[in-house]
Subunit: 353 residues, 2 copies
């Protein structure tokens, strides 16, 4: 029997999100049915709700930082049982056969992963849901291979944003071999940035935060940053030239990146994580002069996401969150656009009206 | 006794190069005195002669693709003797103590390498040469550690441009691990590009050339390219999406790079080699979506330059050149600005008037 689901959906680019009811599919043999307890609010949600990237199909229920409890499992599911603490991130399926999927990098699936919301839904929801619908809702049904286990020591609310903000920063730190003594800079101390600081610090890196003001300096230091730089302070930026092996750039608005490249040491990389839409000018000189690179990175694979959750449990790391009721989502979006959140909004589904 | 030297120098940004006489220093204990037989003409020479990058001090003798014969050696020099076939590239010294120098990457010397022309000259030329002067000249004196051996099987004239065009393309091919079966694209079939094709092919890569027209298609295929793409052919570019592990971008004029990024496979890198001066817009999406990177690379270290020369000898690779007399240099510059050279001008010093 289809699962009645209460949600908040965007219905048009220029309208506030509103209550929305639909049915989730009953779990098939390989599915896990989940009661969503918490869902983090990612900047991408806002981009999609407002159609900033184009192509949004309405109504859309955003949300891909999902934490909850298992309510039912299909006949083929042995790794999860009713009552388990689980998470769902940005993907709910992928082709499973391309090289990326075979290597556990489902986020780079060649035909394209099935995103948690807004993707064509090959499994289909019973009441003609042609596209997947996300975590601003109290129920979800997900194939077991895309369900993560949330370790007991992590609180469900503060763990929810790990499913996107956590893995999106963990994966590049691992990919670019951050470890003991690495010099890592984090640009922007928001949802992604604060996780990058905590994770890089836990990996043994010496972390510097670059921000537009010193408003968040005390927070950054509490999270593990050793140094704090204000981007507009030319003397300080000059003094930091060639210091960093890796810059994690979390800014999700178009911004000036060229001035940051000189901060990289030889063979250093600046990794862009934000979904900016306009071109950002890059100059050849700073790249050539020290064999530097500008790269991008997108979330992480399922195996690596589990590794990240286990790493967070081991190191006592979770997100700094501000919990809201579902009907506060529009206010939360407005505050996010002013970077007024420390450091992630998380919707508490128990407060669904 | 100082060594009387005949040269061609730029005397101002807006004037043609003209004959110029000066003295080279007598070889000190660690020096090698060289009679220059040939010097390649690099696009950077033109940038510096015309002060495109700012900071050019006149008069300046360009040229950093030098091939010649040893005429004298200092007392500490045991690796070279009179008559040896030698080359000098873009550097004539470096600090020798920084991490880059210690690792044989003198081109990334932290205090800065001493470039073959236009650098402050710590050794000084006897007749008050405050800056180094390059290879559009018939004599040069260089510290032995920055002198390369040109294998006997390589003709001196066609080997000269290997000292810049050769190493500038060889180094990134090695750094990004090109080998058997690698898929490499080369953007621009000029001095650098034609060497990238030959070298990548010799390393076992499947090489594709991207160019603005098919004028050079037959040449590209002769050099080892398997495929040839015209950048403006949207259907062909679309069909080549996600094909390449590495793109060697040799274009030294500002150009549209964003459209090339989709050609890269997951974890692929586009390496910029040209000294473009304006910012080129890069978009976050194609970088994020496949963890792609845009990087830069600058020539190569001395040890690697020798390795490249030996590799070329082993594989029978040299540059495709057009030989000119020194007094044809201004005409050559004019033709280079129209990309009218197949594929490198080389000055024959025997024709010095």
């Amino acid at each position: 029997m289809p699962i009645a689901t209460r949600a908040f959906a965007a219905v048009a680019a220029d309208k506030p999100l509103e209550p929305y009811r639909f049915d989730r599919r009953d779990p098939g043999p390989d599915d896990v049915a989940i009661e969503i307890k918490y869902c983090g609010v990612c900047h991408s949600d806002l981009h999609i709700a407002k159609n900033d990237l184009g192509g949004t199909r309405y109504p859309i229920v955003p949300g891909h930082e999902i934490a909850g409890l298992v309510t039912a499992v299909g006949g083929n599911v042995s790794r999860f049982k009713v009552g388990d603490r689980v998470g769902v991130g940005c993907m709910v399926d992928s082709c499973r056969t391309c090289a990326a999927c075979q290597e556990g990098e489902e986020q780079y699936c060649v035909p394209g992963m099935t995103q948690t919301y807004g993707s064509a839904d090959p499994l289909g929801e019973p009441v003609s849901q042609a596209i997947t619908q996300g975590g601003y809702s109290d129920r979800i049904t997900v194939n077991q291979d895309f369900v993560l286990r949330i370790p007991d020591s992590l609180p469900l609310d503060a763990a929810a944003p790990l499913l996107c903000a956590g893995i999106t920063t963990y994966s590049p730190l691992r990919h670019w071999n951050v470890g003991e003594g690495s010099k890592v800079a984090v640009v922007g101390l928001g949802g992604l940035g604060h996780m990058a600081v905590k994770l890089a610090h836990a990996m043994g890196a010496e972390v510097t935060v670059l921000s537009t003001s010193d408003r968040k300096k005390a927070d950054a230091e509490r999270m593990g940053a050793k140094h704090f730089l204000i981007n507009s302070d030319k003397a300080a930026m000059q003094a930091a030239a060639e210091k960093f092996d890796l810059i994690i750039n979390t800014v999700s608005a178009t911004h000036e990146i060229a001035g940051h490249l000189n901060l990289l040491a030889r063979d250093g990389t600046m990794v862009m994580l934000g979904l900016t839409t306009e071109g950002m000018p890059v100059f050849a000189m700073p790249l050539l002069w020290r064999r530097r690179a500008v790269a991008g990175s997108l979330i992480g694979g399922i195996r690596e996401t589990q590794e990240m959750l286990d790493f967070c449990a081991e190191h006592g790391i979770a997100c700094d969150i501000e919990t809201i009721a579902p009907d506060q989502i529009n206010e939360a979006y407005a505050r996010m656009e002013k970077s007024d959140v420390r450091y992630r909004f998380v919707i508490d589904m128990a407060k669904m009206a």
